[in-house]
Symmetry: D2
């Protein structure tokens, strides 16, 4: 069986493993105060083009989301996200467990629009009973979204403008950021994110690391005392250098970008076959995730040789699935899948 | 100006005020351990037909909602309510501030259905990723709802059955319960609520009391240590007898029922005029709240003499308003309003 | 039996009750936005000598403490108080339930000193592991303290200075403030509190009101959005005018001061007898609470006619008790108690 | 410089690294549902002698502490620990951030006694105002403690008996458990912990793993839905197998025990030299941590070649330090330190 199930099925890129092996008996101070973390943070600041950015390394995405949001908001304030946002659906109420409501806005493609955010904030501002409602104070986006869609630079700029005008924080969850930055046609860069967001994170877990997300903070109000916030929520790793190693390797010689770009190209090949065969998708995407809608017999045939992720029944005879490439996907596996699709469809 | 704006504009029923005057220099132990509270609780247990029920007096509705829900749930568990539920919209994220997500289900009339709840719970149970989602554990209803609608006994029984079958708590917010229990055609009684719910409350603030909600708990898992929960959330009144007085008077000789019934009859009269004139309503109700949709000039004319609550624009020429009678509404005011409606419409 | 058990055994001062009677059928807007609240807030601002002060009316002390502290702190920050502080001992972990640690400092008389606070903050600042500890950010004092002791103006000024120098908020719990302001020899005034604190509250419940605490906020960082914070924690009363009435009456013609002063004078008389008879006290106080240490047989004899509060056994033959006068204590009762003490001791 | 600073300065035992290398391209399901985690859990159940035990793998100790305590307690309940307990001092208020008070009991050696716990619980039970206080419901111990001290089996049995009699949970933090289980003279075993506690964890981070703590739960009330609790607090690792690998290796052929025992023997050698030279210690211990009190010039001389942890000044001329051996300490380094101590002292 060849798996296209997700982008966190394997361990990590060999460079990271090599570094773990090399440094195993090195003695370092704990809790992220070591030189490897310092080096990794410096590489990320350089890639983001901002010497003043605060960079912190966390173990996982839910942890990053809940710590950032808890650090940023006062108790009566809420995060605004798409109804389908990871924080609203798939984190077991992690944000609410820190005391904050998530205000879900409707979205067909997993994205929010600037006008939608403006409307929500102005509706709140203009409501005479607004003190009886949680106050929108932070906008949460994923880039790519849950559905693999991407913001264009102009969309992100418009969102950032609304947030600044209205006094909201802009927070981008970049669990799969590498794939988003290197998609053919994507125009958002790391310096753009650093410039337009108050805080965002660069996902490692799904982009070649063993684990780890690098939180990048440009707004000093959130950056202040952030290490206390990490510690309080169990997000400070004793052997913090493990996280430093992930990002020091990923951001050496552009590795982060090259491995994610490779996965995007593989997905482009699969998308090409699906398009040629006229297979519709749930959403049109350009990153490493594809959501084709397949007739039941086609899917049954495919699943003899490939592991895909079920994504819900669309009608009586069709199902959506997710096909996911990754930094670890061998080129031969893509060849096999393309051949199979050509044959079965 | 005559006000039909809401049911909490005045002080309290004169019997309660008289009792406050009589007992002012009585010395009692604090924190709800006095004999007046004991008497009031006993009257409520008798009205509910359950000697084993725990009865606690709280100051307000948001306080009651957040304390009950926090007392009932483990951290990963969520309350299920209508999207329009008071806890989901108008309590500034009070439930989330205790750490719990509110799962909003769609509802046109403010009510949930048993099949809707069953579906939501089974969707959760059957989801292979359910551990990544907040677990539905408590169903929150209002009776009457935000929109003045009521559950029938059979609807409530069906909801209770689903909750028991699936291991969820059933919690009824009765901020306006008096109006719901005495509406013409309503068939849910206090003993029904005590039998079908795990916990509910009998609203005082909007039903003739200065303030106060009487929380009635039949499920021992929620009742245990409930006074600790009260105290922890600032819900224990030093001069607890003040709350005892409200309910000892309201539940003496059926006062609670007679004053709310009077308001319902007044609303029936107004509804009669609106129906005769063919005025549509947002929802059809039988309690003390009416939500007519009025042409702009009619509303403008009415507002010269009456204070109503705006309830949103319906189209370019019509607005919805709320007309609310209460235990305190003088019969003459209703006469005036009916006459004005007859004339203007 | 004559009770000297506490200062919240009775209802309220007759002026307040009269106002409740007069205004019962007045229709007012809800949630504290009415004119009576506005008038009461204005009287308090005038008494505090600060037109820019924010004034909010809450139902009780635990509620006031938890809402103020939650509104003021970021998640990793802690309140500093005496080990014996009400928030640390007698509020069922209400502050912790909002997510914040209470750091208890040792205190024999219930008071903190400026040097003690400075030391605690500097110990934190200088600890290389400080990010692994909750950050002291708010100093919580009671005036009078749990033991009836008072800060002098110079002590309070020193505490305020340390707080400002170190960037901490100063919060004074004034549940019994009226007794503290009018004690013979006390030199702290309302304008002093407004000037030296970031936030404090003027207790009503124990000083002649039916219920209610008036929170006075001078620091805009805490004042911002405070009504959202009230609502979220169930601290916003639908019939908010009830709280307005308490304080509008208490702050009319100095009533708050005169009734508390009367109780202090009564306590002075009792203290005089105890002193004459050489009875030691747990702490020396000048407000309405006295903590004499009495031989068991004396106490047994007293308890035939008087209700006092047990305050713990001191040794095999002596117990401490609390004797409490109040705005409601009749002069004759004090006469009786003094006579009894003269006779028995 | 040779470091004896702590037991988490290096990476991990070579067996673990080898397994990481071998399995790097293995595709596994995520979130701890893979076969390596299953195997590791089975090895731990076997070592604990309990087939029904629930085993979960978490990344770190603070995370384990806060998740276990939040999963176990209702909102008004508190954890009881030594004043010096890690949860009370060094986790930035992590437990309070989940809403629970930590009740600190005095302790000179970091341990609690059964009679002390019984007294605290009975004081609470017997207090007429107990509902105004957080309710003790869980006893938190560390084994070894912060000071390297150990419970004897009979002490632990007495604590367990009190907890069961009084209805409290017993929770043991085993961040350094390996050192505690293998100390010369220690008589507590893994099956004892499984039998006497409701929940405990086996520390990996300080005992040879890259990271990871294995939480072992015997009480079904805590075990229920524990994975929801993990996910909600950011404690569920996408590549969960990484944690499985740590413990599958550590519990293969007794590796966990042999590497910790080695460190204890090294510490015994150092203790031997200190004892021979009459150097006093803060506490007498038998695990991998030693807390000698050294004259300033001795310390200055030692610190030319060795990195130790400062542990506070004892008097004008002496300081306490911590000397820590670990699974990673080379035998030669111990030789060097012993020689240096022999020479300098």
């Amino acid at each position: 069986m060849l798996s296209f199930q997700n982008d966190y099925s394997e361990g990590c890129h060999p460079n990271i493993l090599a570094r773990l092996n090399q440094t195993n008996f090195l003695q370092t101070p704990g809790y992220g105060t070591d030189e490897i973390c310092a080096s990794a943070a410096q590489r990320i600041r350089a890639a983001c083009g901002g010497e003043a950015l605060a960079v912190h390394f966390l173990v996982g995405g839910t942890q990053a989301n809940l710590i950032v949001i808890a650090a940023a908001l006062r108790p009566h304030q809420a995060a605004v996200g798409a109804v389908s946002a990871h924080i609203n659906v798939h984190e077991t109420g992690a944000v609410e467990a820190t005391g904050h409501k998530v205000l879900g806005l409707p979205s067909a493609d997993g994205k929010l629009t600037a006008s939608q955010v403006r409307q929500a904030v102005e509706d709140h501002e203009n409501d005479p009973d607004r003190e009886h409602m949680a106050q929108p104070k932070l906008v949460y986006l994923s880039h790519p979204t849950e559905l693999g869609t991407l913001y264009s630079l102009s969309e992100l700029e418009a969102l950032s403008r609304v947030c600044r005008e209205k006094g909201l924080y802009l927070f981008v969850d970049g669990a799969r950021l590498g794939y988003g930055l290197t998609a053919r046609g994507a125009d958002v860069t790391l310096p753009d994110l650093a410039r337009l967001c108050d805080v965002f994170y660069i996902g490692g877990t799904k982009c070649g690391a063993l684990f780890g997300e690098a939180v990048v903070i440009s707004n000093p109000a959130i950056a202040q005392d952030f290490r206390y916030c990490l510690k309080q929520r169990g997000g400070m790793l004793a052997k913090g250098r493990l996280l430093g190693i992930q990002f020091d390797e990923l951001f050496r010689d552009g590795l982060y970008f090259s491995i994610c770009e490779k996965a995007n190209r593989q997905a482009d090949r699969i998308r090409g076959v699906l398009a040629k065969k006229g297979v519709p998708c749930l959403v049109s995407g350009i990153t490493n995730q594809i959501f084709p809608i397949l007739p039941d017999p086609v899917l049954a045939e495919l699943e003899k040789d490939f592991v895909l992720s079920p994504w819900g029944r669309v009608d009586g005879t069709h199902q959506a699935v997710r096909i996911c490439t990754s930094w670890a996907t061998p080129e031969e596996n893509v060849d096999e899948l393309c051949r199979a699709l050509e044959k079965i469809l």
